[in-house]
């Protein structure tokens, strides 16, 4: 595990085929022969047109979904979905995945509780995390008493408190308004800079992908999604996501990646119009 060069997360030749839900027609191949690696401490974003199977890929990486073929390795060890989920990964969902019947602090410490950490210790850590995500003093509120942005911070603390080696994020900020979103992106970068986890970040927003990542992977339109482009983002860190968008280097990268993406987006759009 400690040897350098072993990727934190490696998806090799992944294919996911789903049986048609209505029984008629053939199976739907969401992802076909997709290969993707995330190095230790690397922040990788995956962008692609809507409905192209980005979330499917992430669920495979999380061990929540078993691929039809292909293998997933976590720090060099194969991940078998039947044995359970990817224990070294934390997953932040697009939709709210907080427990509505638990107060903020109880949501944050859920992961510690599942691991059997004594409550007093868990609460102490939980309070510290609430402070780190700017929710100090809101621990006794229930999720429905919080704004969308606050809920995202809570989910972030909930995911990070168990210090996963890999962070999987599925369009976590897509439901937020633009201002809150940029704040959250900056906070994510600040938290990430502290201990440099490996991150696999799914988004449909190219701006967000470039601003956050070390590397941007472009997926083809579905069905049979696979990576079709891999771009290194060598913008300096630390970054401020709202300022970095103004730099010429960002604009160049954006133009380059958009060039690769545009055709796929149009393809997906056409396919949806027909369907």
């Amino acid at each position: 595990m400690s040897q350098e060069g072993v990727p934190a997360l490696a998806l090799a030749d992944i294919t996911c085929r789903f049986a048609a839900r209505d029984g008629r027609g053939g199976a739907y191949t969401a992802v076909a022969n997709a290969t993707l690696e995330v190095a230790k401490g690397e922040f990788v974003s995956v962008v692609g047109p809507t409905g192209c199977g980005k979330s499917t890929l992430l669920n495979v990486a999380a061990g929540l979904l078993e691929p039809s073929s292909g293998t997933v390795s976590v720090f060099g060890e194969p991940l078998i979905a039947a044995d359970g989920v990817n224990r070294r990964a934390g997953y932040m969902f697009q939709a709210d995945a907080l427990m509505p019947w638990r107060s903020g602090i109880d949501n944050v410490i859920a992961g510690l509780e599942f691991r059997g950490v004594p409550r007093a210790e868990a609460v102490a850590q939980g309070e510290a995390w609430l402070r780190r995500v700017g929710l100090a003093g809101f621990g006794d509120r229930y999720p429905h008493q919080m704004s969308g942005g606050m809920r995202k911070r809570l989910a972030l603390a909930q995911t990070l408190i168990v210090s996963p080696d890999i962070l999987l994020m599925d369009e976590p900020f897509s439901a937020l308004d633009v201002q809150t979103r940029q704040l959250m992106e900056n906070e994510l970068l600040a938290l990430w800079a502290e201990d440099r986890k490996s991150v696999l970040f799914i988004t449909h927003d190219l701006d967000e992908a470039i601003a956050l990542s070390d590397r941007v992977v472009v997926l083809s339109a579905g069905p049979g999604t696979r990576p079709i482009g891999d771009f290194k983002v060598d913008l300096p860190r630390p970054r401020d996501v709202s300022e970095i968008r103004m730099t010429p280097a960002f604009a160049t990268l954006h133009r380059e990646i958009w060039g690769a993406m545009k055709e796929e987006v149009l393809k997906a759009y056409e396919a949806q119009k027909v369907a």
Binding site: L64, G90, F114
Partner: protein, 265 residues
């Protein structure tokens, strides 16, 4: 406060109308041939009132009320707990659910009150035949709510808990059970009412104690005032039970959003 006044106004109006239409000699008989007939069929409010007062002053009612409430409480708790347990089990085990499905549907469609005579044979005329009837009524309400509730837990929530390291047992305790509980509470008002119905109907069909028994006795002697007194006492206690459930629910379900809720400063 104005609302309360109006609510009591409606009550006063009803009682006044009842009194005027039944008291012999106040208005001429317009339907019956004699003016004391209305009182015979519909009772008289002041007499009903005195029967109730007499019951509570002499203490005769307490043993009957205690029996009825005990039957209600037992029927409710046994029915709710078994509904919760079996609802959780069937919702989490697709095979068992598929096998049991026609039987569950069958038992639910059966008019369960017809079971009361059989229960009287099986469990005797004591409280247990009434509890059994209450259980069959309560069980299905809670069962279907739990079953539905567990199946509608957001897959995201389950995936999230699994990623946070929850084992199967922890999933049950931290996700399924709380999710089901909110549905149980939604059905609680209904369930308490049905447990009450089970108790009273059971008593009515054969018993030696209970408010249903009191009503049955009075009916046997055409004592309409006592029948109405029994109905009034039952209604008052059903209302009290419902209020208690509401208070309990509000305490336990603080996490649920309520429409138009604002922060108290």
């Amino acid at each position: 406060m104005k609302l309360r006044t109006l609510q009591f106004g409606v009550l006063a109006l009803l009682i006044a109308a009842w009194y005027l239409l039944t008291a012999p000699g106040i208005i001429p008989a317009f339907y019956f041939d004699q003016d004391n007939r209305a009182a015979f069929f519909f009772g008289e409010p002041q007499k009903v009132f005195w029967v109730v007062v007499e019951w509570f002053v002499s203490g005769d009612i307490f043993i009957h009320l205690a029996v009825t409430l005990l039957e209600t409480a037992l029927g409710f708790s046994i029915g709710a707990l078994s509904g919760l347990a079996i609802g959780l089990w069937l919702a989490l085990s697709p095979t068992a659910s598929a096998v049991m499905d026609p039987y569950i549907k069958g038992f639910n469609s059966m008019p369960r009150v017809v079971l009361a005579p059989i229960f009287a044979v099986w469990f005797g005329l004591g409280i247990w035949s009434k509890v059994a009837l209450g259980v069959t009524l309560v069980f299905f309400v809670v069962f279907f709510n739990v079953y539905q509730g567990v199946r509608e837990v957001s897959p995201n929530l389950i995936a999230s808990a699994r990623m946070l390291g929850a084992s199967r047992r922890q999933l049950l305790r931290s996700i399924y059970l709380p999710a089901a509980m909110s549905w149980v509470f939604a059905s609680l008002h209904n369930a308490v009412g049905l447990a009450f119905v089970g108790a009273v109907v059971g008593e009515y069909l054969g018993s030696a104690r209970g408010v249903g028994y009191l009503i049955l006795q009075a009916e046997g002697t055409f004592d309409i005032n006592t029948v109405f007194a029994g109905i009034l006492v039952l209604t008052a206690f059903a209302l009290a039970l419902d209020t208690a459930v509401g208070a309990f629910e509000r305490r336990l379900m603080t996490w649920q959003p309520r429409a138009g809720e604002t922060e108290k400063i």
